[in-house]
């Protein structure tokens, strides 16, 4: 194994627009990083549209419908309608909430299983990781928090932090509800500095973390006092609400450390938190922290000194120039010379949801049954994500998933010996085994639809080339391709596949001809999903 410092440095560290060749390599790279498994058709379309049009499309947010009631335990919202603004019954709330959480989890998976070319879902997961908040016991509050991420996913970061500070789910998660002037609770005040905004720098003195101090944490706790939540699991209120009680607020004058210019925060009651966040956002290191996280999420884990002084500094400049609006930063990054540098291909090992949905989305695997069947299938998929280490509603800690911060392994943590086995098992399950079975229906790779959508489906070498283009950031060796082609042709000459495929096309609906084609493609995918090359984006 080579050591980190030996790794070939990127040729370009520039955020100026990429002007090199625009082929399926670059187009697929862009889509793999921003979607959860692009299809062959989407890659072809992006090649035809070019970089600017594709990025513009990615940065457009589609309208999204709400999660629907489907579980029998939901006794308030009628089957098939949204429950997100429904009250709870006056008794038996936990069972109803379970039903709602099931609906929410299934809906989140359904969102990831859409053919829409938009960065929205990647950003929602990014913000879920960034704020690390676990689902509280009122699913409406969890949905509302998720909607903050969704609606503001490319919006103003400063406003998002403000909104999150008084979000009911967050108030529960980091003990804002029990933070009052009589006994401040530091939990949110610490994490807002350490993890959400300026980030922690090196410890340069007792209780001094370069960007803030322990005294700032204590002052912040006082500033945030006074907020609590009303309407959790309420049978009268249609959603949980943050409520401000002046009596609980610490009205003293708070003075921040020199890292914030010794700023004085005067009492401003229910606006005080907002004033404080404005001050935090003036901290000189503020913009860089979130830019590093964006970089790690979309480009590469390795923040070398060279990347710090060029890419990160330039991203931060853009973020500050746009008053902390995220969209211009993403626009610049996704069109940058650095992003398309050949050394940045395949630098990220897929997270569990990227893994699961690159299998399903890229092969057109999508359930099209009734609501209850679809949602139950999605709950199974949710459990796969959980088992592989990514429980979307419950990040492991307020710091998010370890793969996004734990040096030196980063995304390799997704592929340790236990997880790699589970990944292989899952690939097997969704290809050559049964797939997810609910109510007599099946969800797995859609092998026929997938192969039909390739450029020359009856040409065996071309089928393998297209598959490699969809799934492998830097291709496969000639030997690996031969292995896959042998699986496709069952070890026979290529023309046998051509005949087999032509017979299937000539006899629509005849399983005698379609089943062998389906089976051969499933074998190829099964083997491909066990290759290291498939594990990266």
């Amino acid at each position: 194994m080579i050591q980190e410092e030996d790794i070939e440095a990127p040729v370009s560290l520039s955020l100026t627009p990429y002007s090199g060749t625009w082929t399926k390599v670059q187009a697929a790279h862009l889509l793999r990083r921003t979607l959860f498994g692009p299809t062959f058709a989407q890659i072809q379309q992006a090649v035809a549209d070019g970089m600017n049009v594709t990025v513009a499309q990615l940065l457009t947010l589609p309208a999204v419908t709400e999660p629907l009631a489907f579980d029998p335990a939901e006794t308030v919202a009628p089957f098939g309608t949204s429950w997100v603004n429904s009250v709870y019954p006056s008794s038996g709330q936990p069972a109803v909430n379970n039903a709602r959480e099931f609906s929410l989890g299934a809906w989140m998976m359904e969102r990831l299983n859409q053919p829409t070319v938009s960065i929205q879902e990647k950003m929602c997961l990014f913000w879920t990781n960034h704020f690390g908040a676990t689902a509280s016991f009122d699913a409406r509050g969890v949905y509302n928090m998720h909607q903050l991420y969704r609606a503001n996913c490319l919006g103003n970061f400063k406003q998002l932090v403000k909104d999150m500070t008084v979000d009911p789910n967050m108030l529960f998660f980091l003990n804002g509800v029990s933070n009052n002037q009589f006994a401040p609770n530091e939990n949110y005040a610490r994490e807002v500095l350490e993890l959400f905004t300026v980030g922690k720098g090196p410890q340069i003195g007792p209780g001094d973390y370069s960007n803030y101090t322990e005294a700032d944490v204590a002052a912040g706790a006082k500033i945030f006092t006074g907020w609590t939540v009303d309407g959790m699991l309420s049978d009268t209120l249609t959603s949980p609400q943050a409520v401000y009680f002046p009596i609980l607020h610490d009205a003293t004058v708070k003075t921040l450390s020199s890292h914030f210019g010794n700023a004085v925060v005067n009492n401003a009651d229910n606006l005080e938190y907002s004033n404080y966040i404005d001050i935090i956002f003036q901290q000189p290191n503020m913009a860089k922290y979130i830019c590093r996280k964006i970089y790690r999420w979309f480009v590469n884990y390795d923040l070398t000194p060279a990347v710090e002084s060029t890419v990160i500094a330039d991203m931060a400049t853009t973020l500050e120039a746009n008053n902390f609006s995220i969209l211009p930063v993403m626009d610049e990054l996704l069109k940058s010379d650095h992003f398309y540098d050949v050394s940045m291909l395949g630098t990220i090992i897929k997270n569990p949801l990227e893994h699961v949905f690159s299998i399903l989305n890229s092969t057109h695997g999508m359930p099209t049954y009734d609501l209850e069947t679809n949602y139950t299938m999605y709950l199974n998929i949710y459990a796969f994500g959980q088992t592989l280490g990514m429980d979307y509603l419950r990040p492991p800690s307020v710091g998010g998933w370890t793969s996004y911060y734990q040096a030196p392994s980063y995304s390799r943590l997704w592929a340790n010996s236990s997880y790699i086995k589970l990944r292989f098992d899952l690939g097997t399950y969704l290809t050559v085994f049964t797939g997810v079975q609910v109510n007599g229906e099946t969800l797995k790779v859609n092998a026929l639809d997938f192969v039909d959508g390739l450029s020359i489906p009856n040409n065996a070498p071309q089928v393998i080339d297209d598959i490699v283009d969809v799934f492998c950031p830097k291709g496969l060796s000639a030997l690996q391709k031969l292995t896959l082609k042998a699986l496709l042709t069952n070890g026979l000459p290529d023309f046998e596949w051509t005949d087999q495929y032509n017979d299937y096309v000539a006899n629509p609906g005849n399983v005698t001809f379609s089943n062998p084609v389906k089976q051969r493609v499933e074998f190829v995918l099964y083997r491909l999903f066990q290759m290291p090359e498939f594990q990266t984006i």
């Binding site: 194994m1 980091l174 009589f182 003195g205």
Partner: protein, 519 residues
Amino acid sequence: MKRRNFIQSVALSSVGAPLLLKDFKFGAITKELFKVSRDAEDRVLILIRLNGGNDGLSTLVPLDMYDNLVIQRPDILIPDNQLITINPTNAMHPVMTGMANLFNDGKLSIIQNVGYPEQNRSHFRSMDIWSTGLMDPAGTTGWLGRHLDQNYPNFPDDYPNASYPDPFAISMGYEVSSTCQGLMANFSTTVVDPFDAFNLQESSQLNDGTYYGSHMEYLATMIAQANDYGAAVNAAANNGNTLSTMYDDNNPLAVQLRYVAQMISGGLQTKIYIVNINGFDTHDSQVADPGTPQLGDHANLLKSVSDAVAAFQDDLNLLSLEQRVAGMTFSEFGRQIAANASLGTDHGDAAPLFLFGTCISSQIIGPNPVISDQIVDQAGIPMQIDFRDVYASVLKDWFQADPADIQAMFEHTVNFMPVLDSCNLGINENKLAGEDVIIFPNPCGEQTTIRMNSKNETVTIQVRDMFNRLVVDVCSKSFNEGLHDIPVTLGDLPSGEYLVTVMKPSGNFTKRIVKVKHI
């Protein structure tokens, strides 16, 4: 860590002073002492990670500070008549019957006020510090990873092999342990269920020198290792056994430790096992209700730990593995002295650390924390024993690592203390069982106490220095049948290490103690 900063932080801490252990000189005597009863190669270390920052003051309550604890944490403090008193000045949480029994059996050691200078109260940073044993934020290798790197420098290339067919470390669950991160790769293999068979497709990968190439090589190695180590783990599990009836299937930690016992008894050569329990970040609902502070989240967590450790130790005893296995708990920090208003506690500083096994050196190391009668905003327990010295001492006592190699692993000047050496000392064939003599406190100041059982016999107790010179002739007299506490005055002897020898008709027992200047 700059020495100057360290001194500064000492001056700033309002209560307590850090323990400065004298550097230990390694000479011929110690070499002689290190005749081990079992080859260190056979030894196993269990790490139990209490993730989230365990509230030490509710785990081990300093009874001499109880009145001030009432002031500091009125709503969450457990009534003293419900605590389990283990000695005149210490008591355990009422749920910790299992570990209290181990303490009484001489199989549990408590190191008080463990932490590091200039406590960092971030979970993430502090867990990194505890995992790496390094203060340098750029340090990424784990403390056990560095130890293993010293012995197996080419890992993971050419491993497993005929000499080392088994994983060096196993992390139970789905996550590798940062403590085992080596220079090139993490030494720990994850195991969820050791009975699971592995049969993954292998492929050879060339590393083209890019990030991608490095990932490819990593994945190919991981797949091959998963197969090889998976087969070894599987074989050991099928070959192994567990005998204790104390494991609770509903206690995830107990289930993990039972798997560990199964693998050890099945002959797996793995040296290190890491198990984990989450949930110690008790900002709220640490106790269920001020009326019943003995119940709640923290009680449930401690019960899980205590029950699981007791079951595991019982199993080791039944499997005749006790001499080969020792365990240690760790957590990223303790919690603040004063409670918050949410029936919880916020991130603090030092806390007690537990070692368990029959080879522990002494029962309580370090004095009780000092609790003020004034509430000081954000105050934690000041550290007195550096966790890195505990790590270093574990490596020296348990794995018999060379002290110079150990020193090379750390940034600070290591101070060794006896922690797991009671199976190392040159004890004659008539040796007493370890539980017959306890010396506390150790390290100690001018006074310490020897606790021993007598069978109505004449006992001679002597303290000798490392040159085998008699420095204190404690006593030589007849003791009635029963338990005796014999005070020992070391007076103004120089700080450093001494050997206490207890001579009885049935055999001699020797124990090392450390005298320190400031305690």
